[in-house]
Amino acid sequence: MMFNELDPLLHSQIRLAIISILMGVEEAQFNYLKEKTETTAGNLSFQLTKLKEADYIKVSKSFKDNYPLTTVRITAKGRKAFEGYVNAMKKYLQL
């Protein structure tokens, strides 16, 4: 297997970090992801949109104390893609 055959959506630092965080939580707020990934709000929004378009994550928008609140959680498809990515990685590294 060639390394560049890996899921291109997950094969980027920020998107892989987002999915890795979401694997360990039930849900995460936008600001939490921004703080953890140490990226800008604009870039994070862009990456979340890409993951959302692939149905890897579900994004919910609501209001809390009159401020908009964006909450993100991983979908079953996203979970499966992450597991596939890790397995492919292990295979490639012969772990």
Binding site: F3, N4, H11, S12, Q13, I14, R15, L16, A17, S20, I21, M23, G24, V25, E26, E27, A28, Q29, N31, Y32, E35, K36, T37, E38, T39, N43, Q47, Y85, V86, M89, Y92, L93
Partner: protein, 192 residues
């Protein structure tokens, strides 16, 4: 280290996954508060009940409603504030929230039923505690809690053969060793 939107090599990928997954995995240790707080509360309530029986038997039950209702309100606010601050709900947090919320309501059901049947609720309370603690310990893969759960299992059997007054001492001892102590060890593990 700021992340870039660039492809990764295999080693970088695994390191990144490890870094972010382990960053969220230890969130379950926030539940140490619950074990320390409720371990102390139930130990104090059981001992207070025991000593009040010697002084004023008619009102010896009072520590239970006062401490458990007050404790429930404080626990709710603690976790509500914590969840708001942290910005995420861990899978452990989600599981524990429902496990202990349903467990708490079952304690109430047992107390209500036993009061109606005029029997001691202690064996049922200790039995339910064994289930909650050992499941929590197995989910967290934290051995002191599993051992704590096993202690409650044994205490449940013992409680059937002793007087209701001595059951209070057994309850205090079980919560001190099987609930409070693992909570303290969990905090120490967190500090390490």
């Amino acid at each position: 280290m700021e992340l870039q939107d660039k492809p990764l090599d295999p080693q970088e990928s695994l390191q990144l996954i490890q870094r972010f997954i382990s960053g969220t995995r230890d969130n379950f240790r926030r539940s140490a508060f619950g074990f320390i707080f409720w371990g102390t509360l139930i130990t104090v309530a059981a001992l207070a009940n025991y000593f009040l029986l010697l002084i004023t038997p008619d009102f010896a039950w009072i520590p239970w409603p006062v401490l458990t209702i007050g404790g429930s309100i404080l626990t709710y606010f603690y976790y509500a504030v914590y969840a708001k601050k942290s910005g995420s709900v861990s899978i452990y947090g989600h599981v524990f929230k429902w496990l202990f919320l349903c467990g708490g309501l079952t304690y109430f059901l047992f107390i209500f039923s036993c009061a109606e049947l005029k029997i001691s609720p202690t064996p049922f309370m200790l039995g339910l505690s064994w289930l909650l603690i050992v499941v929590a310990g197995l989910i967290m893969r934290f051995k002191p809690l599993v051992w704590g759960g096993i202690l409650f299992f044994l205490a449940t059997i013992v409680s059937v053969f002793i007087s209701p007054t001595n059951q209070l001492l057994l309850t205090a001892g079980s919560f001190l060793i099987g609930y409070l102590l693992p909570g303290i060890l969990l905090v120490r593990k967190k500090e390490e």
